[in-house]
Symmetry: C2
Subunit: 538 residues, 2 copies
């Protein structure tokens, strides 16, 4: 450990810096674990260096900066890592966990650390050391008959995409937004989604290897059977199905994961249904739901608000430079000029020409009756938004949604809130009204999207703010707390949370849930060294 500043001084600096607009990133780059003596920390770091080599432990200010970066507000310096350690293999992960247990060093595992909108690589509480698994980046198996893959945490969607292309395999990968830089394991563990019929990543996941805090290596499902060949073919295994408890969790470090891939269809046809008015979202939802339930629409449906769409490719000042939220009329005009409706509903058909010809008229009739304008490549080719979603719905690579982060300015700033509700039109109207009221009252624009997975609706609210402006950051924190709280009072709780609100959300899921999680945590990680605070679990 370099420098002569103590942990408490670092915390003090963090606190002081938070109060002023100008701050150097260095002052915020790291912070020791609470209650850990710096000599103990130094001893732990020395042991970690012995395991992974000098180059793969980051425990000084400069080398830690990249792990500190996130786009969410953090005015009080509550999500500052103490450093990072990057193992090359499972044996090193086990050895690192042993060190962490010995010294009480909390570790925050990340796969590639691109948890956009939720805090990137930053930990739930300051002082945790990032366990960076990016070096473990091998594709371990690919069964071309079954369309299954087994990967390590550092493997990105881009890497799998390239592997499929290089080997000309007849499969598509389901990719989340900003997929190229994202880890398949990281996204799946957070229960992220994509946009093809294989969009529910956790459902398509099959088999894990988990390193527990004491170094025990658990292979879930069929993975532990000697001479077995079914690990990636069958999810459930025998006895209690365990995979689920390692998602959105701090019960272990997932070091391998299997996934199913979608057979490449002969024909792919993307659609957008354009709705003119804000209140049309109710009719759109009620039209989508039965088609998701009966499978006529095979992929998760994105219903994108105009402002969410515009923010992908434009800055706020391109549209408006007045005070307060952008007026609805202005959004409507801007949307129309760009070929967008106030709501834009994206889905696709996959199959043969004959199958698509049999399904398409049913969908067209229903969406038209609901007041939507059904459009395809014939009308929309070249429209940047249509092209973007066309890419996503066939599992293509896109980084375009990163644009959202810079809505207010070059310093960026965005945090996501995604409450879940039944996929019913009245739910969208009530949620959109509540979100608009709260966000506008804090001076922010409401830029919504809804995703209909199956019977449920994820409301994706990207709160865009200016991280270069402490007032904006402060309002963003207050706005997010109010949204979580008031949505929660109505029974709408988030399916996922940024590191800054994990505990707040966890409380909404009740005491029994927390108690059970706490007991399992105690059973599997008695020293609480893996990601304390993740999803509100100490």
């Amino acid at each position: 450990m370099s420098g002569g500043i103590s942990r408490r001084e670092l915390i003090a600096i963090g606190g002081a810096v938070a109060g002023v607009a100008a701050m150097t990133p260095l002052a915020h780059a790291r912070m020791l674990p609470l209650d850990m003596d710096r000599d103990v920390f130094a001893a732990a770091v020395a042991e970690l260096r012995a395991i992974v080599g000098e180059d793969w432990v980051f425990a000084d200010e400069a080398s830690t900066i990249s792990y500190r970066k996130s786009e969410i507000p953090d005015l009080r310096g509550e999500h500052i890592p103490s450093g990072a350690v990057a193992p090359a293999n499972v044996a090193q992960v086990q050895a690192i966990l042993a060190v962490a247990n010995r010294h009480g060093l909390p570790l925050w595992p990340v796969s590639t650390g691109h948890n956009m909108g939720y805090g990137m690589a930053t930990p739930a509480s300051s002082g945790q050391m990032i366990l960076d698994l990016k070096r473990m980046n091998r594709i371990l198996d690919f069964d071309a008959d079954l369309g299954t893959i087994l990967v390590e945490p550092g493997v990105t969607y881009q890497q799998i995409h390239d592997y499929i292309a290089d080997n000309n395999l007849p499969y598509w990968l389901d990719v989340p937004t900003v997929g190229p830089i994202v880890s398949m394991i990281g996204n799946t563990l957070e229960r992220g989604v994509g946009y093809t019929p294989y969009g529910d990543h956790f459902f398509m996941q099959c088999g894990m290897e988990v390193c527990l805090a004491d170094g025990t290596l658990l292979k879930t499902g069929m993975g532990s059977i000697e001479n077995g060949n079914t690990w990636q073919a069958f999810k459930w295994g025998y006895g209690p199905y365990l995979d689920g408890i390692f998602t959105q969790s701090n019960f272990g470090v997932v070091t391998k994961m299997g996934m199913w891939l979608m057979p490449r269809p002969p024909v792919y046809k993307p659609f957008v249904v354009r709705y003119a008015n804000v209140e049309d979202i109710a009719a759109a939802t009620d039209t989508v739901r039965p088609f998701r339930m009966n499978g006529l629409i095979p992929n998760g449906v994105l219903m994108m608000g105009a402002l969410y769409q515009l923010a992908m490719f434009k800055r706020r000042t391109d549209i408006f430079d007045g005070a307060g939220a952008i007026p609805e009329d202005l959004i409507k005009v801007e949307a129309a000029q760009n070929g967008l409706g106030m709501w834009n509903v994206y889905f696709a058909l996959y199959g043969t020409d004959e199958i698509i010809a049999a399904v398409e008229p049913i969908l067209r009739a229903a969406f038209t009756a609901s007041g939507g304008e059904v459009l395809t490549d014939a009308e929309m080719t070249g429209n940047p938004w249509f092209e973007h979603h066309k890419t996503l719905m066939r599992g293509g690579m896109s980084l375009e949604e990163i644009g959202l982060i810079r809505w207010w300015g070059p310093q960026g700033g965005a945090v996501a809130f995604a409450p879940v509700a039944p996929a019913k039109g009245d739910q969208t109207l009530a949620q959109s009204a509540l979100a608009t009221e709260i966000m506008n009252s804090h001076g922010f624009d409401y830029s919504p999207a809804y995703a209909v997975g199956g019977r449920e609706l994820h409301h994706i609210i990207f709160l865009m703010f200016d991280k270069g402006d402490d007032d904006s950051s402060s309002r963003a924190e207050q706005c997010m707390a109010e949204m979580i709280t008031r949505f929660g009072e109505r029974g709408w709780a988030a399916y996922r949370s940024s590191v800054s609100t994990m505990d707040l959300v966890a409380q909404q899921y009740g005491a029994a849930n927390r108690e059970v999680n706490a007991r399992i945590k105690q059973a599997l990680d008695p020293n609480h060294i893996i990601a304390p605070g993740k999803q509100g679990i100490a």
Copy 2:
């Protein structure tokens, strides 16, 4: 407790009786928990009576007989309950658990106790008291827009079927074989399957209420959110996904469960593909797999061997009364006379006439090329086997598979073994060869079925024997042990097990798996009062 026979004497009688062919059911009807004094047991029973009333505690020989009945071999009396208690509601379940904790009384929860082929209501070890949840039989909620249902453990598939019919709801229920008498919760917790596109019951399950050993009531997923309305709409909730650990498990008592229902399709068209030869199963499997992966066949595919089919409606002596296994030639002749092939592959299409017309030619071409004969209602109407599967694949009610149990005689006798493998043709050939060898060597017929869920293959081997003949029972036990062991050595392990082989199967899933299960068990049920031994978990 009536009668003057002590527990040890009962055990002694059980042991003695096992050695002779003639035994009265009464002598076997009940056995006290090992290491429990009869006075303690009597005290516990008195407390249970105070909770549920005199009529709902069964702790004498006569009233316990029905809980003792099963079709699996049990020569050494290892699966004999001490009695049964039937609560009327969740509060009574909690009170019963408190009594059980106080006295160390192990409880074996069953929903309706019809776990056919796996031991019915009988416990993994003798002396456990059956916690019979059949009285908790309310349908608590049905959302007609979302097609979701919330039920209690005692609710049977017949009851839900009738509810749907009575209310003319546009949904189909996915039903396992012998569905009418089976609990939806019980089947789903054992990860049972059905035959429509909603056949993977655990995947279609959404939300549980679980009563833990200490009485804590956990609602999983979205169930604990105050004012929430999303419990049956969204599976995963927030934080670790817990539902899975309560399936094939003894971590808690599931007292409520949500389930998704399939929208009733406008048109339904069932198919059977008939294959003439035993070895055709490989080509059939390799033809089915890609259609399950790309969804052109939307339901799980049953590939039924001739003898499995014949045994549903015939007795063994109808076909053969010689020694040893029935010769293949004879099976072939009998099959042909009944319109059956040596393999009969059942699947269905669901949708509109246009959609089915677009898909059917693709399937026909592939199955015909694989050597199969593709048949539908046009050729097969009235064939009892076709009609049976036609009923199953639209979620209809059937008890016809119960016929299998009486293959050898009126006393019945059958136990299931279902190893899992990748859905590849070479796996079927190797598995069928191994099973035939082992079963024939023990004097049993190999009457197989395979189910292709998705990328995996369940080999459903119903070992039919004569429970009225101790020699037959003894050979059945040995045969089953050899099959589990030798399949396991090849890497093929069962997805489920009868109560008599739970531990043997669990061993094949490795030490880490057992260790993690043991730790979670200890955390959630420290006195081990819920179903000790279930799936090998103490």
